[in-house]
């Protein structure tokens, strides 16, 4: 998804204003004129300056660069769906992995994504199971990363 520079400029300036406003509520250091607010405010000013230049550049180039150009992918429904599915899988993992457990969550995400991207059912299943169990063994068993067992806790090995 491509935007004209001016759009980014506006976003940056709005962000800078909000950020400076919020940062100036930070407390000062005990008996000093500067504190945790100093750096964020300096950054906010920098954002605003860059935003201003971007707006100017984008405005000058408005004839050749449209304000918003959705890439080729957005024309293709399938690709839009792929992106949504990918993002949804990550969100699903974040929300579900602790109670569902790593193994079921990973299997589910892998099978769905593999099938969607055009891998055959048998290959998908083999890849999903192999990947999940290899990752689980490597991380949870060898490297002691506490991947959640979730529903599988009673049969944890």
């Amino acid at each position: 998804m491509r935007f004209n520079d001016a759009i980014f400029g506006i976003v940056l300036i709005v962000f800078a204003i909000a950020e400076i406003a919020y940062a100036s509520t930070f407390p000062r250091l005990h008996g000093q004129d500067y504190g945790p607010d100093l750096f964020p405010i300096l950054l906010g000013v920098a954002f605003a300056v860059c935003g201003g230049i971007l707006i100017a550049k984008g405005w000058l180039a408005r004839k050749t660069v449209p304000m918003v150009a959705v890439g080729d992918w957005a024309q293709d429904r399938g690709n839009v769906f792929n992106v949504a599915l990918l993002l949804a899988s990550i969100v699903f993992y974040i929300l579900a992995s602790s109670w569902l457990g790593f193994i079921p969550t990973s299997l589910l995400i892998l099978i769905v994504l593999l099938l969607r991207l055009g891998t055959s059912l048998v290959t998908s299943l083999i890849v999903a199971f192999a990947t999940t169990f290899i990752i689980h063994t490597l991380f949870a068993k060898v490297l002691l990363v506490p991947l959640p067992w979730g529903l599988l806790l009673p049969i944890a090995w």
Binding site: F47, C50, D76, L86, I90
Partner: protein, 502 residues
């Protein structure tokens, strides 16, 4: 000479050598897995070192770290997922080489320069540890502030495309670094009440998101294969390397020595060494326009630098018990446990142990050559897997890696958000590398700035009050002003010429 011989017999023990081999394999493995850093590898090793003699214990750590830093280059080159933060600086460069079909060449260069850098670092460590530590310990917050500023200037050099967008990217990184409890007053900034955010945005999930997730997104959004390029059969990993390395012999020397020096400074480790040397390489290059397109030059510098810095970090650790990086922070603990309490006295009391450590560095780096060769051969098979199968698998690896660094799904949230931001940035011509540099250096700039202001009671002249600080400060400001002066001078001469023409 007698102590050196004694040290050799300590290392040449079959048990010690066996431990080193196992540790090296372990390091290769952990380093190649995104989300698990060389620091993590060392921490995982500690329980085993409890039950070892001092020499095998330390040698195991040396071997693990040396191989882990190289191994981080492998997923970086093949999949655009830097295995450790030290590989982030040239991740895009090696990935671009892979896209050209030169994966083996890229990794071959990374391997050989790692070995050379590592050996150089070892030489620096063994020849001049006490003297160098004496220099490094003179650095106060003023010096570190200027050093970090110099590091930030690299952002402009390394950014490809528009300088303005490079700046925006850098500021985004610096802003991300301000999230969390601030180092000066202990005040939670931009956390909106979230306990997880109080800890700040962890670097590893951020890096995985900005490199790997944005790449996966680009793949599913475009449906075009990101690396469908058939890899050129180079024949051997090492074939043709000789001429490349000969061509860039100055780069190897520069990267190795700078890397070792940066490593010696406490608080600046392999990742910062790689960024700075990569930027210097581009700045000094005859063909800077080729950087970022799969050009080996910067890789030569930075690949040598990050391994060289590892040994450098041991200098202040052994001499003063001040860690040069997060790995040596753990090492100091092990040294204490093994009765090799850090301090100049250890050179007098147990010189054979110190020499044994030095020898372990040489052996570990030499062993990296065949081991790394094997790892490259094995891992390049990954490229033969069709993308549609590989991408979902990468996604799961990334999520587990982002989880592993702090053992919380919050890491995955960070990865997701920054992945989307990085994707949008890259689609619109904003380079990602400066943002990552900003995250790396943000706290170092701010903390040292604030500490210096407090020390100087707010007087800006304090930043020039010490000889090294003043030198670094003037150097930095000169570096910043030069392009402006050059531009002004050019404009002036142009006008004169035009006037004369009229």
């Amino acid at each position: 000479m007698e102590t050196v011989l004694k040290a050799f017999t300590l290392i040449a023990d079959p048990y010690t050598l066996g431990v080193m081999l196992l540790a090296a394999l372990f390091g290769l493995f952990v380093g190649a897995i995104p989300g698990l850093t060389a620091t993590m590898a060392t921490a995982l090793l500690i329980p085993f070192t409890f039950f070892m003699d001092p020499v095998p214990a330390i040698a195991a750590i040396v071997a693990t770290v040396a191989t882990a830093i190289f191994a981080g280059d492998i997923p970086g080159a093949l999949l655009r997922i830097p295995g450790t933060p030290a590989s982030a600086a040239y991740c895009d460069e090696t990935y671009a080489m892979t896209k050209k079909g030169l994966a083996e060449r890229a990794l071959g260069i990374a391997l050989v320069t790692s070995v050379i850098g590592g050996l150089t670092g070892s030489i620096v460590l063994s020849m001049s540890a006490p003297a160098l530590a004496e220099f490094a310990i003179q650095f106060s917050s003023y010096e570190y502030f200027w050093l970090a500023c110099l590091g930030l200037s690299c952002a402009v050099i390394i950014s490809t495309g528009s300088t303005l967008k490079g700046f925006v990217s850098l500021f985004i990184g610096l802003f991300i670094a301000t999230i969390g409890i601030d180092g000066t007053a202990g005040f939670p900034r931009f956390t909106f009440g979230s306990v997880e955010l109080m800890g700040g945005v962890s670097f590893i999930p951020a890096m995985i998101g900005m490199f790997a997730i944005s790449e996966v997104l680009r793949y599913v959004a475009s449906n075009r294969a990101t690396i469908a390029v058939p890899q050129q059969p180079v024949g051997s990993v090492f074939k043709g390397l000789g001429s490349i390395l000969y061509k860039y012999k100055i780069n190897i020397f520069r990267g190795s020595s700078l890397g070792a020096v940066i490593g010696i400074l406490p608080g600046a480790g392999a990742d910062i060494a790689a960024w700075i040397t990569y930027a210097i390489s581009k700045k000094r290059s005859k063909e800077p326009e080729k950087f970022g397109t799969g050009h080996p030059e910067g890789l030569v510098d930075a690949g040598a630098a990050n391994n060289a810095s590892l040994a450098g970090a041991w200098v202040p650790a052994i001499v003063f018990g001040i860690p040069g990086d997060s790995i040596t922070a753990i090492v100091i603990g092990v040294l204490y446990m093994k009765g090799m309490n850090p301090g100049p006295m250890v050179f007098i009391e147990r010189p054979e142990l110190i020499y044994a450590v030095f020898i372990a560095f040489f052996i570990a780096n030499l062993a990296l050559l065949p081991l790394g060769f094997g790892a490259i051969k094995l891992s390049r098979q990954i490229l033969k897997i069709p993308r549609r199968v590989l991408m979902p698998v990468i996604l799961v690896f990334c999520m587990v890696g982002a989880f592993a660094i702090n053992n919380t799904v919050f890491g995955i949230t960070v990865m997701l958000v920054l992945g989307i931001i990085a994707y949008l940035m890259e689609e619109n011509g904003f380079p990602v590398a400066p943002a990552i540099l900003g995250i790396v250096l943000g706290n170092m700039v701010e903390d040292n700035f604030m500490a210096s202001m407090i020390k100087a009671d707010g007087d800006p002249l304090g930043f020039f009050s010490r000889p090294i600080a003043a030198t670094l400060g003037i150097l930095t400001i000169a570096l910043w002003l030069t392009p402006l002066l050059v531009m002004a001078f050019k404009k002036y001469t142009n006008r004169q010429r035009q006037e004369r023409a009229v």
